[in-house]
Symmetry: C2
Subunit: 365 residues, 2 copies
């Protein structure tokens, strides 16, 4: 342990903050994990110790999210972006079409990357509204024959979030939950497939968590190498080839930590309070700060805001970093600021941010 | 730092031993990396600090392997197995064929996983010899029109290794170096593409290192999502999407460590001495231990051996583990024992193993 570790409040959109307790545990066990005399990174994924840890991580995740038994849980690689392609490869046959709800940068990208593998029907889009609001459910042009319906419950860059799961009929609902998974309780049974890059609410990058209804594993998809087939990964307990063992381990530590925090109900309460605190500070700043998103679509995870004068942006970023508030710069496509408030960002971080914002506004009038 | 860390000698085939100095550095910096006040896992891959680290890792690798300027270095995901498929997707057009040299489990798998994407010509195979020797170069039936020639310089499971790079004419030579990369100096210019899963000689699993001649990036391949195209990854400096940031970081620490050890020339000498010590102990055991591989094909990295009586295997494994010698069990397909002697396994580990083997033979007569 370092004698003088000085930690900052980290608002990074991803790779993002991890719980300090998780980092301390990983640090402590780095050279000698689980009595093995070696790091967890140095263990065979086929060894007893690693398999027991991996199974415990899956069991904890199933308990946290109350995953029904007819769903497989997979620990994969490639980032959500690879699965933008792999999902249609697995779920759609030749000539099939799929519905995509486009509500921001990431769902637009999911639709675009799917095109080599499925006829993409953009059933609804918020583009004409600059993604400042969500396309209302009654405007969606769903195809009753779609192989699946894909949407992105929370848009990391645009800062919009669906509150509640949309009803889409018989087609399996596929959700990229990279930036809001584990942030609140969820009725997994409403979904056909949930997937998430780990680097926001789960663990380090390079790991993708997938929850897939087992009947979907029977879909033939198209001719492809085994390594791309979800059914093969499920049959091999995600050890079809060597998985990202470190990522799986840190994810497991995070699941353990979430359970100790009181589970997803407690996290939902904490996350709602954090977001409310920040939005109130923005809305109550008399126009000094501004969030452009329609109230009902505001994200609890990624809070965009602009300063009343963009000429102050550089000073805001410099002074906030000096005050120990990391990574507040907005995505380059949109400018302004963004504070990401994932599970591992404690309420104290948001309090510090809000205090800084008030102070900054006073000093820079 | 833990007060009572007890480390074992780790002969795991992969994920495998890492240099202790690398683990200690990762441990020290876990909560506060590079003065950032956050873990390296909590940094945006687009941030200045991470980009500088990533570039330094690439520069160190280029220096260690003397990678010519007309080669791109990529940090990818998916394991070597995914690239068994992705290589033909990128390098072969519709109707193309490729030559595969099959010298053991992994090259056979590479050939098999390529089949959905290219006509596979098995130009040579050691299968009839149970992979105990390598198919001699003058027996290879190479196709002058092959899109590329694929081989596996070292077979992790079968314990055979090509010593020297084969001449294959004009077709680009593609090599899966997962288990021998960085173990000795290499003339990269002889290859079209080199790839390696990181979990043996580089770092943690979930990272793939690729070195690809830039002209090969121009090959059209076939219609596919951008995420599968090596050219897109190269154009984005391996940040087309979020890379495995922890893996990249640990790989960088390993490259730094290799430079401090004196580079690949020094590692080659050390690796040769380690392998010789173990093979001498096996060959000099009067048949108590036995390695079945043809002398000229013996691997420096993965040393297979059997006991003269398989009924002693269980005792050997139990007593060796009690003596702090980890993961000596051979692959389940072959039985017996296997000691993997990658860069991070120090000479002292092999000395301890050899001493144990002598002692075991005396005690169990």
């Amino acid at each position: 342990m370092q004698p003088h570790v000085s930690r900052v409040w980290n608002f990074s959109a991803g790779p993002a903050a991890l719980p300090q307790a998780v980092l301390e545990r990983a640090q402590r066990d780095m050279l000698d994990w689980n009595g093995s005399g070696a790091s967890v990174m140095e263990q065979s994924h086929r060894g007893k110790r690693f398999i027991a840890m991996a199974a415990q991580a899956e069991a904890d995740l199933r308990e946290l999210m109350q995953v029904p038994a007819d769903y497989a849980v997979l620990f994969l690689q490639g980032g959500a972006t690879q699965h933008f392609a792999q999902i249609p490869m697995n779920l759609a046959g030749e000539g099939d079409s799929a519905d995509y709800i486009v509500s921001g940068h990431w769902s637009a990208k999911a639709a675009s990357e799917a095109k080599p593998y499925v006829r993409v029907n953009v059933a609804a889009s918020g583009e004409a509204d600059d993604y400042l609001k969500l396309p209302p459910r009654d405007s969606w042009q769903l195809d009753p024959n779609a192989a699946y319906v894909h949407y992105t419950p929370n848009e990391t860059i645009h800062g919009v979030e669906f509150h509640g799961v949309p009803e889409v009929g018989a087609a399996p609902l596929v959700a990229d939950m990279s930036s809001n998974i584990l942030s609140e309780p969820l009725d997994v049974g409403r979904f056909g497939l949930i997937y998430a890059g780990a680097q926001k609410n789960i663990g380090p990058s390079g790991l993708v968590l997938m929850i897939i209804r087992r009947d979907l594993l029977q879909r033939a998809g198209r001719p492809m190498a085994r390594i791309f087939r979800y059914a093969e990964h499920a049959a091999a307990d995600s050890m079809l080839n060597t998985p990202n063992t470190w990522g799986w381990y840190v994810a497991g530590l995070t699941f353990e930590w979430l359970k100790a925090q009181g589970g997803l109900g407690a996290m939902a309460e904490r996350n709602r309070a954090k977001a409310e605190l920040l939005y109130r500070a923005i809305d109550g700043s008399g126009g000094y700060y501004r969030n452009p998103i329609e109230l009902s679509a505001r994200s609890r995870m990624n809070v965009r805001f602009t300063l009343h004068d963009a000429a102050l942006d550089a000073a805001f970023l410099q002074e906030s970093e000096a005050a120990g508030l990391l990574a507040l710069k907005g995505h380059k496509a949109l400018g302004g600021m963004r504070a990401s408030l994932y599970n591992a960002v404690p309420p104290e971080a948001v309090e510090a941010l809000v205090a800084f914002m008030r102070d900054f506004a006073q000093r820079h009038g």
